[in-house]
Amino acid sequence: MSDQKKPGISRRDILKGGAAAAGLATASSLIPTRFAIGGTAKVKVGILLPYTGTYAKLGTNIKDALQLRINENGGKLGGREVEYVNIDSEAAPPKASELTNKLIKKEQVDFLIGPVHSVVGMAMVKIARKADVITVIPNAGANGLTGSLCAPNIFRTSFSSYQPGFPAGQAMLEDGHKNVVVMYWNYGFGKETAAAFKSSFLAGGGNIVKEIPTPFPKVEFQAYLTEVAALKPDAVFTFYAGGGAVKFVKDYAAAGLNKTIPLYGAGFLTEGVTGAQGAAAEGVRTTLHYADSLDLPANHRFREAFMKATGNPADVYAVQGYDAGDLLIQGMAAVEGDVKAKAEMIKAMEGATIDSPRGKFTFSKAHNPIQDIYLREVVNGQNQVVRTVQKAVEDPAKGCKIG
C-alpha cells in the first residue's frame, strides 16, 4: 500500500528530524510533566476518506500528501511517532456516523482527518464536536461545516463553497461578461457555489439570463446546451466536478458553444481532469485557491516531492491534504506532543500561518482558510494563472458563534 512508502525524504531531512527529536528529548527532560502526561506512545491520526467509488482518487491523493508532509517532519508530530488509522468512507452518508464513531470510540484517535464528501462531513463534524476531537477537514466544502456547525476543535484546510464561487462574479465582470447563464449540479455544493457567484455578480451590476440547475449526478447535458445556445448569453458560469466536469466540458465543446460563448466555472471544472478533457478544455476559465502552475517556491518543492513519493502529479486535493499535515505539525509542535493540552494546541493552530503550495494563508475565526483566489485558464492542458482575482478571501461563516 502506498502509505507504506517513504515519500521522498532526503538524508538531510532525516538528519534534521533526528536533530529535532534529540532537541525535544532534551527539552522533555527539562519539563518532565508534559511527557509524563503525553507519554511516548504513538500519536493516532484517524483518516476517514473515500478510497473506493467516484471520489477514490481524491481520497488517495489527500492521504498520500498528508503523510508526505508528516514524513518531511521526520514522520513525527510533536516529537512522537505517528500511527495512521485509515477508514474508507465510501462517500456514503448513512454510514458516516458509524465510521466516525469507529475512529473516535474504538480506535480512540487523537486527530480526525476527513472527509471529501460534504454530507459525510455533516455527520462527522456533529460527532467530533461532541467528542471534542481535533478535526481537520481536507476537502468537504459545505459552508455550514465552518458556519453554523463551527467549533473550536474543527479546522478546515481546503475551502468553503463560497470561496471559489464569490470571486468568480467579479472575475467575469472584469472580463466584460454582463449577461450570464448559471448552470450547476443541483445539490448542496453546486447550489452554495452558484449562490455565492450570484451575490457578487449581481452586486457588481451583472445580469443573470437564466439559472439552470441540473440533476445531480446525471451527465446528460444535451437538452441544456441547446437551451444555452438559444439564449445566447455573453458567457456561462458552471459548477461541475469529476466525471461530470469532463463530460460537460467535452459536450460544451462538441456542440460548438465554446467558439461563441466563453465557459467559466468554479475551479473543480478543470481540476485533475484536464487530461481527460483534452482540447475541449482549452480556454476554459475557472476560479480556485490553487493552480498547478503557481510560480511559488513552496509549490515547486511540493509538486516535486509528491511526484517522487507517489508517482502521480499533485492536484488541489493533495495540496489540501498536505496543508492538513502542516497544521497538525504546527499544533503538536506548540504543545511538544502533549495531545491532552487541547486548548493550547487549538490556540496554536488558530494562529498558524501555513506556508502552503497555494501561497501562505491563515485561519479565520471560524477556522476556515483566508486565502487568495486565482483566475486560471486552461492552456495546453494546464491551468495557468491569469490573475489573482481577490486577495485574502474570507468565508462569511454564517451562523458561526465562536470567535
Partner: protein
C-alpha cells in the same frame, strides 16, 4: 415455509441472552454498532414480511425507513422537549399513510413490475428530499434534541445514554419479532403465506387478496418507519441517501443472505453484513472483493441463506438427540 422448531427457539433464546449481556462486555463502539445493527434488523425483518411471507419483493422499502427518519427530523427539528409518545405516534401514522398510498398504487402489479413500481415511488421520494430546498436537500437535516420518554413527570429511559438506548432498541426488536410471528400464526398470516404460494387459488377460495397484500404492505412500511425513527433519534442526522435504491437493495441482500421467510434470518443477515463491513476493511483496501466472494459462497453453498444452515444443523442435532433418547428407553 419454515416452522419455528424447538431447537430454533432455544437458539433464539441464546442469541437474546447474548444480546442482553453484550453491553456489559462490549466496548462503547461495539455497543453502539450493535444498536445500529438492531435498528437495521427491525427494518429488514419488516421487509421479510413482504419478501419472505407475502411474496411481494419491494425494491423501495428504504423509502419508508427514510420517511420515518425525515418525519421525526422535520416535525420536531428544533423542538426542545420532544414527547416520545406523541412523536412516535405521529411519525408512524404518517409513514403508514404513505405506505397505504404507495402500496395501493403498486399492488395492482406483480412480480418484476411490482419490484420496479416500488422502486419508482421510492426514487420519487428520494428526489423529493434530495432536491427540495426546504428540508436540507442533499446535505440532510439535523435533529437538535432527542425524544424524551416520560411517564407522567418521570423519565423512563434516557436516550442520550448509550446503554439505555441499546436496551430500548433491543426491546423494540424483540417486540417487532413477536408481533410479526403472532400475525403470521394468525389466520391473516396463513392467508399471506398462501398468497405467496399460489395467489390464484387463494382468490378462488373467495379471499380478496389485494386487501391482504395491502395490509401486509402497510404493516411492513410502518415498521420500516419505526426503524427510521429509531435511527434518526440515534444519529440525530438524516440524509436523502437513506431513501436511495442502494439502501433498499442492501436490505434485500440482508434478507436473502440471512434466509427469507424465517423472520430471524434477516436479523442474522444484517449482523453478518454490517459486521463484515466493519471487519474486512482492516485487512485490505480491496475488501469488497472478499465481501463479494463471501456473498457468492453463500448463494452457491447455502441454498436457504444462513438461516437454512441453522435449520439443518439444529435438525441434525435434534434428530441425533432423539435417537440417543430412543436408545435410552
Amino acid at each position: 415455509m419454515h416452522t419455528v422448531t424447538r431447537p430454533i427457539i432455544i437458539f433464539l433464546c441464546i442469541c437474546l441472552v447474548m444480546l442482553l449481556l453484550f453491553p456489559a462486555v462490549g466496548s462503547p463502539f461495539y455497543t453502539e454498532l450493535v444498536t445500529r445493527i438492531m435498528i437495521l434488523s427491525i427494518f429488514t425483518i419488516s421487509l421479510d414480511l413482504l419478501i419472505g411471507f407475502t411474496g411481494l419483493v419491494s425494491f423501495g422499502h428504504a423509502a419508508f425507513f427514510g420517511i420515518g427518519a425525515y418525519l421525526l427530523a422535520i416535525l420536531f427539528n428544533d423542538v426542545e422537549h420532544i414527547n416520545y409518545w406523541w412523536s412516535l405516534t405521529l411519525t408512524l401514522s404518517m409513514t403508514g399513510m404513505a405506505a397505504l398510498v404507495i402500496g395501493w398504487l403498486s399492488i395492482r402489479t406483480s412480480g418484476i413490475y411490482f419490484i420496479m413500481l416500488t422502486l419508482a415511488f421510492a426514487q420519487m421520494c428520494f428526489y423529493f428530499f434530495f432536491e427540495s430546498p426546504h428540508f436540507g436537500g442533499d446535505d440532510g437535516i439535523f435533529l437538535m434534541n432527542k425524544p424524551e420518554i416520560m411517564l407522567g413527570s418521570r423519565q423512563l429511559v434516557d436516550l442520550e445514554n448509550e446503554h439505555h438506548y441499546y436496551y430500548f432498541v433491543l426491546a423494540w426488536l424483540v417486540g417487532v419479532y413477536l408481533f410479526l410471528s403472532m400475525i403470521l400464526r394468525a389466520p391473516f398470516g396463513h392467508v399471506l403465506i398462501a398468497i405467496k404460494a399460489n395467489e390464484q387459488r387463494v382468490r378462488a377460495l373467495g379471499y380478496s387478496t389485494p386487501h391482504y397484500k395491502l395490509v401486509s404492505f402497510v404493516i411492513a412500511g410502518t415498521i420500516a418507519g419505526l426503524a427510521g425513527f429509531l435511527e434518526a433519534a440515534h444519529t440525530s442526522f438524516v440524509t436523502p441517501a437513506y431513501l436511495g435504491w442502494h439502501e433498499s437493495g442492501m436490505a434485500i441482500m440482508m434478507v436473502i443472505l440471512g434466509g427469507m421467510g424465517t423472520l430471524f434470518g434477516p436479523v442474522i443477515g444484517t449482523f453478518i453484513v454490517v459486521l463484515l463491513q466493519d471487519f474486512l476493511p482492516g485487512f485490505t483496501e480491496h475488501w469488497k472483493l472478499i465481501m463479494g466472494g463471501i456473498i457468492i459462497g453463500v448463494v452457491l453453498f447455502l441454498p436457504n441463506g444462513v438461516a437454512g444452515l441453522i435449520y439443518s444443523l439444529t435438525n441434525r442435532l435434534s434428530s441425533k438427540s432423539k435417537e440417543a433418547g430412543r436408545e435410552h428407553v
